[in-house]
Structure formats: C-alpha cells, structure tokens
C-alpha cells in the first residue's frame, strides 16, 4: 500500500480573509489633501506713518456680498480677472527712476508705475462666500505666477523650466541641497522683479 501523505491545509480561504482586510482599508482610507494657497498675514502692529501710495498704483478688487466681482469699480467676470491683474502689474508706466525695463505692458500713465510699486488691494464682505474668495485669490496669484514665469524663462533659459516648476522643485524634499543653493538666488531674483504685494482690507460689515 502506498504511504499516505499528510493532508494539505486548504489555503483557499486565505485570499478571502486578505481581501476582506484590503477592502476595509480601501474604504477607510481618506486621501488627505495637503496642498493649497500659501499666504502670509500682515503683523498686527500698525505702522505709524503709512507711506502715501498713489491711486494709480493701486488695483482694487472688491467682492461684494452677492459674490459679484468689481475691479477698479467696474463689474467684471472672474474669467477676466487674471488678465486684468497681469496687465496692471506689467504696465510699467513710470518714467525716469521709476521706469520698468522688463515690463511689456502698454505703459499707460494712468496705471501702475512699476511692479514694485503696484499693489493689489482685495476687499471682501463678511457675507462673501469662501469659495468665491478662494477663486479670486487663485486668479490673483495666477497673475503673479504668469509674469514670474515669463521673467524666469527670459532670464534663465538654460534652466528649461518655469518659475512655478522651479519653485516646486526648490520645496521638494527630494531635491539635493546643492541644487537648492543653486536655485535659490534665481528664484529670489525673479520674486523681486514681481513682488507679491497683495493687501487685504478688513471686511466690510453688511447692515
């Protein structure tokens, strides 16, 4: 008679158990969103002598309680905001000392002198919806990024990337320290050409 081998343990249900666990983890996993718009709040100390800013150097954006958008006191569509803000920043209407050599705007004397002087003032109502506010913020940041991209590519064509990409690379933990040291002065140079001067007024109260 042939020797009987030990009966094999049926491992067929092992897969079922593993699947059960797998499905549990799949369902309970929530992918955390960990990206967004970085902003810096102004410190609370009041400046005693606020510098006098010429009206033409301020681009006012107002979002009212009905989520309507006004740029320079005119009702506009949010799709146009990016282009309008970029045009304002890139105008370069200054003369002499305030001339902007790298600006490609129309040079309208009624608009901003140079990007360093240009300030975007954002004002919202307490009743404004947060998502509209974020959309406006997003578009204003986009205007800055567009111009910075342009200058970065013009100044450092050998990098073969845009400002946004370079900035992302700089903040990526996988980038080597040497690379970071190399990128840093280039990034800050472009940032200085178009400094982000976005001022937020205290929201108005609706009665």
């Amino acid at each position: 008679m042939a020797k009987r081998s030990a009966p094999e343990v049926n491992a067929g249900s092992m897969a079922d158990i593993a699947f059960l666990l797998l499905i549990f983890f799949l369902v309970t996993t929530t992918i955390e969103t960990d990206s967004g718009l970085n902003r810096k709040l102004p410190p609370i100390e009041e400046i005693e002598d606020p510098p006098i800013i010429k009206q033409k150097n301020i681009f006012t954006v107002v979002v009212n309680k009905n989520n309507q958008l006004l740029a320079e006191e005119e009702l506009i569509d949010i799709a146009d905001l990016r282009a309008l803000a970029a045009e304002f920043l890139d105008n370069g209407g200054g003369e002499g000392e305030e001339e902007c050599k790298y600006c490609q705007g129309p040079g309208d004397p009624k608009s901003s002198d140079n990007p360093d002087k240009a300030i975007i003032s954002l004002k919202n109502d307490r009743e404004t919806s947060y998502k509209v506010y974020i959309a406006v913020q997003n578009e204003l940041v986009a205007a800055y990024n567009e111009l910075r991209d342009r200058e970065f590519i013009r100044l450092f064509p050998s990098e073969n990337m845009s400002f946004v990409e370079a900035n992302k690379k700089y903040y990526d933990p996988r980038t080597s320290p040497q690379e970071k040291i190399r990128l840093k002065p280039k990034l800050s140079e472009v940032k200085l050409l178009f400094p982000q001067k976005l001022s937020e007024a205290e929201p108005s109260k609706t009665n």
Partner: protein
C-alpha cells in the same frame, strides 16, 4: 507495462491559487502603509474649494489644522447649521483659536516653533466673516503663515 503509462485524462490540472493570498497581502500592505490616519474626526462639512495655483504644504509636523464649516448632519441637531470652527475634536468659538495656536506651538519642538503653518480647511460655502475672524485671531498670536487648503481644480468649479 501499463504501470508506466501516463494517465491520459481530459481534465486540466487546477490552477494553483496558493499565490493569490500573497498578491492580496502585498496590496494590503501597500494600502496600510500609504494610509494617513486622520488625527481628528471631522464634525463639520468639509467640501474644500478648488484652486490651481497651489503649493504643497510643509511637512506634517509643522502644520496645525483649523477646520470650519457647517456642522455635519449628525451634529446639526445639537449645534445648528451656523458655520462653526472645529479645533482638534471639538467645536470651538473664535476666541479659542488663539489659545489653541499657542498650545499647539508649545507642543512642537523648539526649532519648529517659528516655522509653523496654520492650514485652514474651510468648507466652500462658509461666509468670509468667520474666516476673517479666524485670521484676526491668528494675527493676534502672531501665527502669520497660513495656508488655505484646497482641492486641485479650476477656479470656475467654485462658481455655481
């Protein structure tokens, strides 16, 4: 001689499924490792608005989270439908934000205390009044680096 003749059967040998658990376990481990467990359960509605000019947030140990939005349906009966702030695991008022930030800051390592970012995870339908109040509180405790956490998407998704 028939002893050495191979048995000729029509039936195919069964495909071994012995490696199936291994494959599934592999997937399981992947998901277990990749899962980030949320520190606090959400008690507010949290449909984040969309934006595309976004930057990645700092490392997790340098971030503190402030949630805001309408209380989710489970809590709506008790807390109403007014938008509220959630800090850690409980609802809070605006005046508690400052204390929360200070205690969070104190719990971090010395070298990280100055580089902390406050991530605002706010529901898209919240009114700006509440957010302005939070921002004002943050300014008071000098927590100036903030991040409006958003989904990735075009801005017109926010318009409806």
């Amino acid at each position: 001689m028939s002893k050495f003749k191979k048995k000729k059967g029509g039936d195919l040998p069964a495909i071994s499924t012995a490696s199936l658990p291994d494959i599934v376990f592999m997937l399981l481990f992947f998901f277990m490792v990749a899962t980030v467990m949320r520190d606090s359960t959400l008690m507010v509605k949290n449909q984040l608005p969309a934006a595309d000019q976004i930057q990645k947030l700092d490392k997790k140990d340098r971030v503190m989270y402030i949630y805001a939005g309408e209380p989710s349906t489970r809590y709506a009966e008790k807390y109403g439908t007014q938008a509220r702030i959630q800090l850690n695991d409980k609802f809070a008022t605006v005046s508690e934000v400052g204390a929360f930030v200070l205690s969070e800051r104190a719990s971090k390592r010395q070298e990280l205390q100055d580089v902390l970012t406050t991530a605002l995870k706010v529901d898209g339908d919240t009114k700006m009044g509440l957010i302005s109040d939070i921002k004002q509180e943050l300014r008071k405790v000098n927590a100036l680096k903030i991040n409006y956490t958003t989904r990735v998407g075009d801005f017109y998704q926010n318009m409806d």
